[in-house]
C-alpha cells in the first residue's frame, strides 16, 4: 500500500507540470535542498542553510516567529471582519454589535482579532527587548534593527487606527485625546490633526480615514517591511545566536556571508548549462 502511494507520488513529482512549478526536481542532496529554498518565491527570503542552534528555543524564544503568527491571524480575521463592517457613522457601531450578537462566529472572530492585536504589541516589544539585551542589533545587523523599529511604529499605528473602528465611546474619546496629543507638535501639529481626521472633529471623515489606514495603507507597509526584515536576516548571516562564551567574538558562530554566497554560486552554476 505504502509502496503504491510512493509510486503515485513519484509519478506526480516527476511529471512535467510538477517540474514546471518546482524546478529543483527530485533528489535529497544538500544542493537540491538548497535549491528548493532558493527557487521558491515564498521560501527564498529564508537562508538556504541554518545552524541547528538557531532553531533552538533558547536562541530567540521564537519571539519574531510568534509576532508573525499573530500578524497572520490578524490579517485573516481582519479580512473576514471586513465582510460585515461599513466604515460609516451610524452603521459602524451597529455592525460591531451585529458581529457580536448576530453573525455566526462573529464574536469569536472579533475577539480573536482584538486579542491577537494585544498579543502582537506585547510580542513585538518582547522581541525588541530580546534583540536589544542579546546585543543582536550590532553590526552587521544594525540596518535590520532600524527596519524593526519602523515595524514597531507600524504595529502601534495599526493598533491605534483599529481603536476607532468600533465607533463606541471608548473609541471616540481615545481618538479625540490621541489626535489632540498630535496637535501639540510644534508648528505642524494642528495641520497633522486636521489631515488625520479629515476635519476638526472625530467624525465620518475620521472614521473613513482610519479605516483606510488600518485596512490598506498600514498592512501593505507592514508586509513590505516584514519581507525586508526577513530577507535581511538571511543577508546578515542568519539569526543571531551568540557563541556561548564571553570572549567578545560574537560572530564566530554564525555562518559567514561568504559561505552563503558560495552556496548560491554553486547552485547557480549547476542551473546554468
Amino acid at each position: 500500500m505504502a509502496g503504491k502511494l510512493d509510486f503515485y507520488f513519484d509519478n506526480i513529482t516527476k511529471s512535467r507540470l510538477w517540474r514546471s512549478i518546482f524546478r529543483s526536481g527530485p533528489g535529497d542532496s544538500s544542493l537540491h535542498r538548497a535549491q528548493k529554498i532558493q527557487q521558491n518565491v515564498f521560501l527564498h527570503i529564508l537562508p538556504t542553510k541554518v545552524r541547528r542552534r538557531m532553531l533552538r528555543l533558547d536562541a530567540t524564544w521564537y519571539l519574531g516567529t510568534l509576532t508573525l503568527g499573530t500578524f497572520l491571524v490578524l490579517v485573516t480575521t481582519g479580512t473576514l471582519l471586513m465582510f460585515y463592517y461599513h466604515p460609516s457613522v451610524p452603521q459602524a457601531y451597529a455592525d460591531m454589535k451585529d458581529l457580536r450578537y448576530v453573525v455566526s462566529a462573529g464574536l469569536f472572530l472579533r475577539n480573536l482579532h482584538r486579542w491577537s492585536a494585544h498579543a502582537m504589541v506585547v510580542l513585538v516589544f518582547a522581541h525588541m527587548f530580546r534583540v536589544f539585551y542579546r546585543g543582536a542589533y550590532r553590526p552587521p545587523r544594525e540596518f535590520n534593527w532600524v527596519i524593526g523599529v519602523i515595524l514597531l511604529l507600524v504595529t502601534l499605528l495599526l493598533s491605534y487606527t483599529g481603536y476607532l473602528l468600533p465607533w463606541d465611546q471608548l473609541a471616540f474619546w481615545a481618538i479625540t485625546v490621541g489626535t489632540n496629543i498630535a496637535k501639540y507638535v510644534p508648528l505642524v501639529g494642528p495641520k497633522i490633526r486636521f489631515l488625520l481626521l479629515g476635519g476638526d472633529l472625530v467624525n465620518a471623515n475620521a472614521l473613513l480615514r482610519f479605516y483606510v489606514l488600518h485596512c490598506v495603507v498600514l498592512p501593505l507597509a507592514a508586509v513590505l517591511l516584514i519581507a525586508v526584515h526577513f530577507w535581511r536576516i538571511r543577508k546578515d548571516g542568519g539569526l543571531y545566536v551568540g557563541n556561548g562564551n564571553s570572549d567578545g567574538r560574537q560572530h564566530a558562530d554564525t555562518p559567514s556571508q561568504t559561505s552563503v554566497a558560495k552556496g548560491v554560486a554553486v547552485a547557480e552554476a549547476v542551473e546554468k548549462p
Binding site: 474619546w173 479625540t176 485625546v177 489632540n180 479629515g198 476635519g199 476638526d200 472633529l201 465620518a204
Partner: protein, 163 residues
C-alpha cells in the same frame, strides 16, 4: 568610464554631452513631477468643505436658565452660565486633550474626567494638567430673544451678556 580616460578627451569634466543633458533633463522632470504629486496629494488629503455642525448654537430663551446656574450641553460642548453679573458661555472641551468636562454641582467646579483638570465656573484653571483656561465664547441675543453662542469666536473673559 573607459572613454573618459582616452588620451584624446582631455576636455574639462564640465562638458555636458547630449546623453548627460537628456539624463539630467529626464531626472529634473521626474523630480518636478514628484514634487507636483506631493503637493497635489497634500491638497487632495486636505478637505475644502467640511460637513460638520455649524459653530453657532441657539441656546434658547434666557428664562430657561435660573440665576446662579451652570447648564451643560454635551451635544454642542458648551456651558451656558447665568450669574449675578449676567449670562456667558464657556467651552466644555478641556484645553488639555479635548475631553468633555462636567459641571460638579456638589463641588461647585468644572472637572475633567480624563486627567483631572479642574476649573472654576468662570473657566479659570484651579488644578490639573490643562495649559489654558476654558475659553469664553461670544454670546448675544437674537432678534427672536434667544441666546446665541458662536463656538468659533473666543472672547476675553468677564464679558457678560446682560439682559
Amino acid at each position: 568610464m573607459a572613454e573618459d580616460s582616452k588620451p584624446g578627451s582631455a576636455q574639462p569634466e564640465r562638458k555636458v554631452d547630449r546623453r548627460a543633458f537628456f539624463a539630467r533633463l529626464g531626472l529634473s522632470s521626474l523630480g518636478l513631477a514628484a514634487a507636483g504629486t506631493l503637493s497635489f496629494s497634500y491638497q487632495y488629503m486636505s478637505p475644502n468643505v467640511l460637513y460638520e455642525p455649524s459653530p453657532i448654537v441657539n441656546a434658547g430663551s434666557p428664562e430657561k436658565y435660573a440665576m446662579n446656574s451652570v447648564t451643560e450641553d454635551q451635544v454642542t460642548g458648551i456651558y451656558l452660565i447665568h450669574l449675578q453679573e449676567g449670562f456667558f458661555s464657556l467651552s466644555a472641551i478641556c484645553t488639555h486633550l479635548g475631553c468633555m468636562t462636567a459641571w460638579r454641582q456638589d463641588l461647585g467646579i468644572i472637572a475633567c474626567p480624563c486627567h483631572g483638570s479642574r476649573f472654576t465656573r468662570y473657566g479659570k484653571k484651579i488644578a490639573g494638567p490643562a495649559p489654558k483656561p476654558l475659553p469664553w465664547y461670544r454670546t448675544w441675543l437674537s432678534d427672536g430673544g434667544d441666546i446665541m453662542v458662536d463656538r468659533a469666536t473666543v472672547i476675553p473673559p468677564m464679558q457678560f451678556l446682560r439682559i
